[in-house]
């Protein structure tokens, strides 16, 4: 039993170590300008990595993502604005690289489709409720029904006070 006690931590270290090594290996030298790195990070978080399409360009470790980050870094150093860099990228890779596509006729459906569906849903709901209301006609109570209802209510309130 005593031997097992140090075996477990050792096993855990053994499990984690390869990942730590992998993590270190992936680190790449970046520029020593923290402001630029931050700007790059902010911009590339809204850009899609085209290799692993559900990852942002900021997070991706793909080779192409590294290249594109280098490209953006250089353009930033050359004094290009974010907008200029985005148009550089969309001219080559299309709107698909943007996580937030621009509003153009081709993306109208994407941008406004959900609202159209919502309005359609509301219209259907409204129509349905109106129809239901028409199905249940309101009839005034007859004298006999009114008397019975009052009797029931009286019996109810007596029970409560008791």
């Amino acid at each position: 039993m005593k031997r097992v006690r140090w075996l477990l931590p050792l096993l855990l270290v053994g499990l984690v170590a390869p990942f730590a090594v992998a993590q270190v290996k992936r680190q790449r030298p970046v520029t020593d300008d923290p402001a630029l790195e931050q700007r790059l990070h902010k911009l590339s978080q809204n850009l899609r990595c085209l290799v692993c399409q559900n990852e942002t360009l900021a997070d991706s470790q793909a080779d192409l993502a590294e290249d594109l980050r280098d490209e953006i870094r250089e353009q930033m150093k050359a004094g290009k604005s974010d907008q200029e860099i985005i148009s550089f990228l969309t001219a080559r890779y299309g709107q698909f690289i943007l996580y937030k596509p621009q509003v153009t006729p081709t993306t109208y459906l994407l941008w406004f489709g959900p609202f159209v569906l919502l309005l359609a849903g509301l219209a259907v709901l409204f129509h349905y409720i109106k129809q239901r209301r028409d199905l249940i006609p309101e009839k005034p109570l007859t004298a006999d029904e009114r008397r019975r209802a009052e009797e029931m209510l009286r019996a109810d309130s007596r029970k409560e006070t008791a």
Binding site: Q53, L64, D67, E71, A91, R92, Y93, G94
Partner: protein, 179 residues
């Protein structure tokens, strides 16, 4: 009756949408470069680094630019087809060797054969960015005036070659001859 038909209708609409959506290849991103001028570049040649190759050199010709690398597995699958198409002489095939090592690329060509008229070596991948390359192999068809007319993302297939490339090549050559 209607209360059964409405869910069934919604279900069928969803089936149709999912069938279309799942049948598509998400890797195939439509290129904004189609029908635009091919980006210019001047790169050293792979076999003779002292010489250069430029897209401008190809003005007046219909040609194919194939992006490949020795580390690219799909390029290996595609390679026999390229050899066959190069032999057919339908259209000259040029290579853009993408982010490769020169020795690896030369060894690859020596081992599997060389379908390319010549290769441009894009060792740091900057030209590939201009061409919107995001996964090799990619193949461009460029016309006499240097306009990209078609782009195949991923390996060429006999279908794509027969139905897209060859008809376009023939059409472009006809138009070119008439001019």
């Amino acid at each position: 009756m209607l209360r059964y038909l409405i869910p069934l209708g919604i279900f069928l609409v969803m089936v149709v949408f999912l069938a279309i959506g799942l049948g598509r290849d998400p890797r195939e991103v439509p290129s904004p470069l189609i029908n635009k001028a091919a980006p210019t570049f001047r790169l050293p040649q792979l076999q003779e680094p002292s010489k250069t190759f430029s897209a401008e050199d190809m003005r007046g010709k219909v040609w194919v630019l194939n992006v490949w690398a020795s580390w690219c597995v799909s390029c290996r699958d595609e390679h026999p087809l390229l050899m066959e198409y190069a032999k057919s002489g339908a259209v000259p095939i040029y290579g853009l060797n993408w982010k490769d090592k020169r020795d690896d690329a030369l060894a690859w060509l020596a081992e599997f054969g060389n379908p390319y008229v010549l290769n441009a070596a894009d060792l740091d991948g900057r030209v590939a960015i201009d061409y919107g390359v995001y996964g090799a192999p990619e193949t461009y068809l460029i016309d006499q005036s240097g306009v990209i007319r078609f782009k195949q993302i991923g390996p060429l297939t006999p279908d794509v070659w027969q139905q897209k490339f060859l008809p376009l090549v023939q059409q472009l050559n006809r138009e070119g001859a008439g001019r």
